[in-house]
Amino acid sequence: MAPLLELSRVSVALGARPVLTDLSLAVERGERVVLLGVNGCGKTTLLRALDGLVFPGGGEVRYGGERVDAASLEAPAFRRRFRSDVALLFQNVDAMLFNPTVADEIAFGPRQLGLADADARVARWAEALDVAPFLARPPFELSGGEKKRVALAAVLALHPRVLLLDEATANLDPASSARLVDLLAGIDGLTTIASTHNLSIASELGTRAVLLHPRGQGILYDGPPEGLLGDERLLVASGLAHSHAHRHGGAAHAHYHVHDTE
């Protein structure tokens, strides 16, 4: 059986700048992948390519064995299936909030797909993400963390098979991050690809870690998160950790050090 999502030798350039070069990745049904890499390494572009928002200049993206490109997304049947199956939580959640009320925001996707149970989905996911008290409020008036929860409710209301999360835990306090991880873990059969540069949460977001080259030139590591977190040399080479001097008591020495930037 073909992988659920597959990138074959994908290259993407934004303008004249190459962002991803010759990158291949296959994701199976139900896998929990955490996508790691420094800022600017192409995590967002990769997720957008998987969501059919950016089309590669070279190589191809496939969903369930079917090619995802501008032409295939013009076909109504495939577009409808793809848009309901694959959902993306944007890093800039403000971009996702364009409806008059939180309730309308959550219902937007299901209504676009003509689903009859849009209101029931709103109630379910507003409750699950603890945004029910804001249902009548305009989303742009909410705080950063509240907006993130509304945006997540809006994509989960599509009941996707694949959820792409772009820096999902950024701007969330530790308790909200933990709740998000628990919530995602509790959805059976969901395939997730979550990007982050926060190593401390990597092993909670996925059971498979994929580390991108700092300039998007392929994959430096693909395996269990524990294997990556224990590989000091690779973490330093990828820019996720670096070595610098510390002073402990009176003694100065240098050792590698992870900086979470969230």
Binding site: R48, D51, L53, R79, R80, R83, S84, A87, L88, F90, N92, D94, A95, M96, L97, F98, N99, P100, F108, G109, Q112, L113, P138, P139, F140, E141, A154, V155, L158
Partner: protein, 186 residues
């Protein structure tokens, strides 16, 4: 009248009044409209008048003055001030009516039956909200790096950079919104 009819009627009335006032060619109908607006919208009229005095009157006076100066340079004599005074009075009257209507109408509820217009309104409000936050932050950033309170010259100097940042942010936001809508099946 129940919502959204009430807000829709107010907006339609305000729009019609603004159009009618834009065609006024003498001070009398404008003065009458000002008096009528003061009567109809007497609750909060002082606050709206202050807003007009702060936001509209200086720009109108500046534009009228610049136009008169340009005419003086071109023609050699100062032009008759009456048409310029009429321009300013017209702008002030329209602004007072529009501000008073907007203060009473619930725009979002008025547009709820029209999903596309409603979404456009939300996007506009969200953009205004984001840009205001950025402008405020930029001003605070300027203030935090100066030993004294920034003056008009400092603000003007910083305005170029801030405007460029605002435009870039707007453009990026617009692209992201379009992608987010496509991603959810729009």
């Amino acid at each position: 009248m129940p919502e959204p009819r009430r807000s829709q009627a107010l907006l339609a009335g305000g729009l019609a009044a603004a159009f009618a006032l834009s065609a006024a060619r003498s001070p009398a109908p404008l003065a009458a409209a000002l008096a009528l607006a003061a009567l109809l919208f007497r609750r909060g009229i002082v606050r709206q008048a202050r807003r007009v005095a702060r936001a509209v009157l200086p720009v109108s006076l500046l534009l009228a003055g610049a136009s008169a100066a340009a005419a003086r340079l071109a023609g050699g004599a100062w032009p008759d001030p009456a048409p310029y005074a009429l321009l300013v009075l017209r702008a002030v009257t329209i602004a007072l009516v529009v501000f008073s209507v907007l203060a009473r109408a619930d725009l979002q509820r008025a547009l709820l039956p029209f999903p596309t217009a409603s979404r456009l309104l939300v996007l506009t409000l969200a953009q205004v909200h984001a840009l205001r936050l950025l402008a405020t932050d930029s001003l605070l950033g300027l203030r935090s790096r100066m030993p004294r309170k920034p003056g008009a010259v400092d603000l003007l100097r910083g305005a170029g950079g801030i405007t460029a940042a605002l435009l870039t942010l707007s453009l990026r936001n617009a692209r992201d919104v379009a992608d987010a809508m496509r991603s959810r099946g729009f």
